[in-house]
């Protein structure tokens, strides 16, 4: 790793002021599980890292009215084990439990997963299905923006980590008759990129017979994390039935654009995986939502 200085910030304001004084030569570091590798490979040149993981309370996972708030420096391991997330946003707990290895999950953060903007990032895919927002802090203040709006292209997000940072995520906690699920297949069960990953969230009507709303996020089938909106529309206000699910799954496979990849698999196989994993995730979430 190459950098000339390392600053450990004790407040968000201090981190932002330090970045400002470095005029683009500094960068936020959270877990560093991607950034340190990029620095070691000299894919990035920086003069200073600004560590935000010791900012008090920035890693807390809390409820605020009907919203779950996940602090920016919460690690994947912390999220995976959080009773609140496991209860009110299973999809995120499941996704975080599949990132990298135990060593990576103990250090890597959800915010880092989003800022790195990989189209297959487990955390980003789950946040998309949750319709999550990210709070961005910079010298002009704080604002909440949809996570879905943060991705530009593979590896490029709208967060400029040389001047700003994510401070938290928020999403509506699952209510009764609402549930979510995450599915992924990779060449091996650990430390492997997903060939396809799918996150779903479903809300049923009061008697549990119809789907009021469904969110389906899929990766990596586009340059950025992808929402299967046609499949979502096909599920909306429909009865919970195998035919409805089969139709939606077909639609998800049709509207996604998986490519043949040496790292992952052929596009035909990956399209079939979209069908299988979307069906599994929908079945699991619907079953749980019906209680």
């Amino acid at each position: 790793m190459v950098c000339e200085d390392y600053v450990t910030a004790s407040t968000v304001e201090e981190a932002l002021a330090t970045l400002a004084s470095l005029r683009g030569q500094g960068r936020i570091i959270a877990g560093g599980t991607d950034l340190v590798i990029q620095l070691q490979r000299r894919e990035r040149q920086l003069s200073c890292l600004v560590d935000v993981t010791r900012i008090p309370r920035l890693n807390e996972i809390t409820m605020d009215n009907s919203y779950v708030i996940v602090g920016a420096t919460a690690t994947h391991a912390q999220i995976e084990r959080s009773p609140l997330i496991r209860e009110r946003a299973q999809v995120l707990a499941e996704a975080c439990s599949m990132v990298g290895s135990p060593q990576i999950r103990n250090v890597g953060t959800l915010a880092g997963n989003v800022v790195n903007a990989q189209p297959a990032a487990d955390g980003s895919i789950a946040l998309l299905a949750l319709d999550a927002e990210a709070q961005i802090a910079n010298l002009t203040g704080h604002q909440w923006v949809p996570v879905a709006s943060l991705f530009v292209s593979p590896g490029v997000s709208r967060i400029d980590a040389t001047t700003e940072m994510i401070t938290a995520f928020r999403f509506r906690a699952q209510a009764p008759r609402e549930s979510s699920a995450y599915e992924r297949l990779a060449r091996r069960k650990a430390v492997a990129l997903p060939m396809i990953n799918v996150a779903v969230r479903v809300l049923l009507d009061a008697d549990g017979s119809h789907i009021r709303e469904a969110h389906i996020a899929i990766g990596p089938v586009a340059p950025v994390p992808f929402r299967a909106q046609e499949a979502e529309a096909a599920l909306k206000d429909q009865p919970v039935s195998d035919e409805v699910i089969i139709d939606a799954v077909e639609m998800a496979a049709r509207e996604s654009k998986p490519r043949t990849s040496l790292l992952r698999a052929g596009k035909e196989y990956r399209r079939e995986l979209i069908r299988v994993l979307t069906r599994r995730a929908l079945h699991r979430a619907l079953e749980h939502a019906r209680g």
Binding site: M1, P102, N106, V107
Partner: protein, 156 residues
């Protein structure tokens, strides 16, 4: 070289204070400044787990872990496992089960196992497999490692 920072941490129960470069990783400080070469460098990109050490009882890949992150924390390396010439029960079990061949992955596997047994003294085989899923072994495989951890769990 440019400026250095003072790093204070506890390594294998002893407080240490040393000057480190801002870009140093924990693995390089342990190996090159403290002479603790039991921590191995393998892939240097967080895939193989040969560099695994514990920071406050949690397994981390020390070769991609900035040394400055260790400030104020308790670090455990393979050198800290044995006490008074007595091997740690996991080390003994690895020997007895032949869970070691070339040995390069062994320190990391041991520390992942220590972390597991620290929070779950009675793990299932699935839990053991998951706990060591970030540690690659390219010679002997995992069956004997898993048996060794199972046995050590009964004696710890």
């Amino acid at each position: 070289m440019g400026k250095t920072h003072t790093l204070r941490m506890t390594v294998n129960g002893e407080e240490v204070e040393l000057q480190v470069e801002p870009s140093a990783t924990l693995a390089s400080v342990l190996r090159e400044q403290l002479g603790l070469t039991g921590t191995k460098i393998g892939c240097e990109e967080g895939e193989c787990g040969a560099c695994t050490v514990l920071v406050d009882n949690q397994a981390v890949n020390s070769c991609i872990y900035p040394a400055m992150k260790a400030a104020g924390h308790r670090i455990l390396t393979v050198e800290g496992l044995a006490h008074n010439e007595q091997l740690h029960p996991l080390q003994r079990a690895f020997l007895e089960h032949g869970a070691v061949q070339c040995g390069y992955c062994t320190p990391g596997l041991l520390l992942s196992a220590v972390a597991l047994l620290g929070r779950n003294p009675n793990p299932s085989e699935a839990e053991i497999r998951r706990a060591i899923s970030g540690n690659l072994c390219r010679c002997t495989g995992y069956a004997k490692v898993i048996r060794a951890i199972q046995e050590a769990a009964q004696t710890v």
